[in-house]
């Protein structure tokens, strides 16, 4: 079945275009997420390597 599906893909040369579109969609979602994070959260995450060992990390 898979064989037939792939055989029927018209113009396999379009793969470059298809793949690029997949990436752009993926990339846009990631960027949107990155900019949706609040600054105080970002600051907290980026300080994790320095966190005091006794600090409570229970807040979500």
């Amino acid at each position: 079945m898979f064989n037939q599906v792939f055989q029927s893909v018209s113009g396999i040369n379009n793969y470059g275009l298809i793949s690029t579109i997949i990436f752009v969609v993926f990339f846009t979602m990631v960027v949107a997420h990155a900019f949706s994070i609040r600054k105080n959260e970002l600051s907290e995450f980026s300080r994790m390597p320095f966190e005091d060992e006794t600090k409570d990390s229970n807040e979500v």
Binding site: F2, N3, F6, Q7, V9, I12, N13, Y15, G16, I18, S19, T20, I22, F23, F26, F27, V30, V31, H33, A34, F35, S36, I37, L42, S43, E44, F45, S46, R47, M48, P49, F50, E51, E53, T54, K55, D56, S57, N58, E59, V60
Partner: protein, 721 residues
């Protein structure tokens, strides 16, 4: 929540750190020996175990998997515990991980020296060791994910994302590229053939660079650079985009190793497009690292750890700009098969991986030994000697590469190749090879100083095997998304789900590239005249693989006039359909061999020439850098494996007639007797059962099938119908 006291395991960290230094020296000294063999080929000492083709995989595997691998484990085992505020999941798994990995390294070194190899670059390990690698890698992943699950922090820091992506992707790559059918305990055939094998191999090869040499070290950068600079990473937001864009894009870029090859053009184009796009996330990571030092550059002047890190990150930036440039067709046309690739790889290995490893060791060893670094001055000396070493290493190779491609491509006014003899181009490079060896020696000298500095540091300190720490236990919350929690935020606290999503991200590229090559038959047009190898040629091919001939000779004529004039017809996908594994090579220290057997072809040599060439290449041409292979003349060919090899080939779809395995050795001896008789007529007494006869048979077969002349009357037995 109640505060809990626990202990970090520094013992495993220490063991991995020691192993890093030990294998670093071994791997690089072997590299130096290889560099010297370019100038003095007699440094192979005339024995098989130290010949170029066998020790080159020892060098590459020792540096990649032993030095960098142990360095990665050192950094991960230290940082993961602290980022998770938890001891490693299991001390037993940590021990298995450490000792198992060292066992793999020793097994690799021994088997390569004895000629047990799959013949696939950076994946040369034979099947039993491949299985061991998979097991130990799973142990590492199990230990890591177990630690993350029992962590005492809610959010999983971005460095750990890179560690998780490393684990899952390397597992996929290793398994997919190592599907082999055993012949004996240390011999197997890969299930893929020719073009398909090439694509899978370079999908693996490129992503071994991506997910073994890059992503874990980016994880280390995100932990150790802020620690050393004492300031948080410049942009956590950028690190998120960096992570996902990098792992998604990297996996597609493998085909850029096969540009202008017989690989279908659409796959090549995909590789080029995604390679160029890779600049963005790669430089995003580099910028994020360097900008972390904003306002702290004065520290770089004083602190050797930061010095190593700055050059490491800069080398990463240089490599990840150069790589995509080399992936474009225009640049690849001149850079491929030259020393440019070697220079590029070593900027990454010596600069990015090597310097980042030493930065981590200089930062971490004094801490686990509760002391200060013995001498900053020595560390600075190491830094400067190492930096000079990298420059002395790379610049001559870039110069050499320009010399190579200009000479390979130059035509006279009359339209003939100006340098038709490949050796003319090799001899021009010897001064550059000498300078490269000086660079390598400098780099190793720096490491020796570094090791001395660290040994004194260790001696003056007191090892803290169990480091006490305390943190509140993590209060369990719903595995589902809580109110106001976005999908990615949920993912950031769920290690298994995170790993699955990362797996999907990397599988998309692999599936889209590789699956059509198997399912769409038009991708690999068959050529009616291409027949399976005769039993003797098959045995000869295995000797070619065993000796690592692919490390210096390509079997891939690119569609350029300069190449077709020098070698003959350009490569076609259909001519490799019975090649398990493919042997296209990636570097031409010697000429391409894929048209070697075409009688009256540009590369054709008689049997006697091959015999004498293997016996003493310098006797035929004093300038040659080819090693001697006199054991091929002395050693008997092992024909006990012929029948099994034929049967395995049949399993893989090679159309040998039914029951051909039963008469394979009879056919083998017939063909061997013809070659032996031909040598006799040239005054050379060589029994038909010697290894050299099989190798000659294979070399004389190369390129024959796609030329209308058919098989050479002198070397062929009964062609397989």
């Amino acid at each position: 929540m109640e505060n809990q006291t626990f202990y970090y395991d520094n013992k495993t960290v220490k063991l991995f750190a020691y192993a890093t230094l030990f294998w670093g020296v071994i791997g690089m000294v072997v590299g130096l020996l290889l560099a010297l063999q370019f100038i003095w080929p007699q440094l192979t000492f005339g024995i098989p175990y130290t010949t170029f083709g066998r020790i080159r995989p020892i060098h590459t595997n020792a540096v990649i998997f032993a030095f960098v691998g142990n360095g990665m484990f050192t950094g991960v085992y230290y940082s993961l515990q602290r980022l998770c505020k938890a001891r490693m999941f299991s001390d037993i798994l940590s021990k298995i991980n450490f000792w198992g990995w060292q066992l793999i390294i020793v097994a690799a070194a021994l088997t390569f020296a004895f000629g047990f190899t799959t013949g696939k670059e950076y994946a040369e390990l034979e099947w039993p060791i491949d299985i061991l690698v998979a097991v130990i890698w799973i142990v590492f992943g199990w230990n890591m994910i177990g630690t993350i699950i029992k962590r005492r922090t809610r959010h999983i820091y971005v460095a750990i994302w890179f560690y998780l992506a490393t684990f899952v992707t390397v597992a996929v790559l290793h398994v997919a590229n190592s599907i082999e059918i055993p012949i004996t305990l240390f011999k197997s055939y890969i299930v893929y053939a020719g073009v398909q094998d090439a694509l899978v191999q370079w999908w693996y090869g490129h992503n071994a660079v991506a997910f073994f040499l890059t992503t874990p070290f980016l994880g280390l950068m995100y932990y150790y650079l802020p620690k050393a600079a004492n300031r948080p990473i410049y942009s956590y937001r950028l690190s998120i985009v960096h992570f996902w864009a990098l792992i998604f894009l990297y996996i597609w870029a493998g085909p850029h190793h096969l540009i202008y090859s017989a690989l279908p053009n659409w796959a090549q184009s995909l590789g080029v497009v995604f390679s160029v796009m890779l600049i963005a996330p790669s430089w995003g990571g580099m910028v994020n690292g360097l900008l972390t030092l904003r306002g702290a550059w004065d520290k770089v002047r004083e602190d050797p750890v930061l010095k190593f890190m700055v050059v490491a990150v800069t080398a990463y930036g240089m490599s990840t700009f150069e790589g995509p440039m080399m992936s474009t067709k225009t640049v690849n046309a001149i850079s491929h098969f030259t020393d440019w690739t070697v220079g590029h790889a070593h900027i990454g290995a010596l600069g990015w991986n090597g310097f980042m490893t030493f930065a981590v060791l200089y930062w971490l060893i004094p801490r686990i030994f509760q002391t200060n670094l013995y001498s900053r001055k020595l560390a600075n000396t190491h830094f400067w000697i190492g930096t000079l070493g990298i420059i002395f290493y790379a610049v001559p190779l870039y110069w050499g590469a320009i010399t190579q491609f200009l000479m390979w491509k130059e035509f006279t006014a009359e339209g003939f190749l100006k340098y038709p003899n490949f050796l003319e181009t090799v001899t021009q490079l010897k001064p550059m090879y000498a300078a490269r060896a000086v660079g390598g020696a400098l780099y190793i000298s720096g490491i020796v100083i570094g090791i001395y500095n660290l040994i004194i540091t260790i001696r003056q300190g007191k090892f803290l095997a169990e480091e006490a720490a305390s943190a509140p236990a993590l209060e369990p919350i719903s595995g589902k998304r809580v109110t106001g929690e976005g999908a990615h935020r949920w993912l950031e606290r769920r290690p298994i789900q995170f790993t699955i999503v990362a797996l999907i991200a990397i599988l998309i590229g692999g599936i889209i590239e590789i699956v059509p090559l198997y399912l769409v038959k038009t991708n690999i047009p068959t050529i009616a005249s291409v027949k399976p190898y005769t039993p003797l040629e098959l045995q000869g091919r295995d000797i070619y693989v065993r000796e690592g001939c692919y490390t210096c000779h390509s079997q891939q004529v690119r569609p350029f006039r300069s190449e077709t004039e020098r070698y003959g017809q350009y490569a076609k996908a259909g001519e490799y359909v019975y090649d398990h594994p493919f042997q296209w090579g990636s570097k031409r220290n010697g000429p391409d061999l894929s048209r070697e057997g075409v009688v009256n072809g540009r590369q054709y040599k008689p049997n006697s020439w091959h015999y004498n060439h293997m016996l003493n290449p310098q006797k035929l041409n004093a300038q040659s850098i080819m090693p001697v292979y006199k054991w091929l003349i002395a050693d008997d060919l092992d024909i006990s494996t012929t029948a099994r090899k034929i049967r395995v080939m049949q399993m893989l779809g090679v159309p040998y007639p039914a029951d051909f395995d039963k008469i394979a050795n009879e056919e083998l001896m017939k063909q061997a007797s013809l070659i032996s008789a031909d040598l006799k007529s040239q005054g050379i007494d060589c029994a038909p059962n010697k290894e050299i006869i099989a190798l000659i048979a294979y070399l004389q077969r190369l390129g024959v099938d796609i030329h209308s002349a058919g098989l050479s009357a002198v070397v062929s037995g009964n062609p397989v119908k």
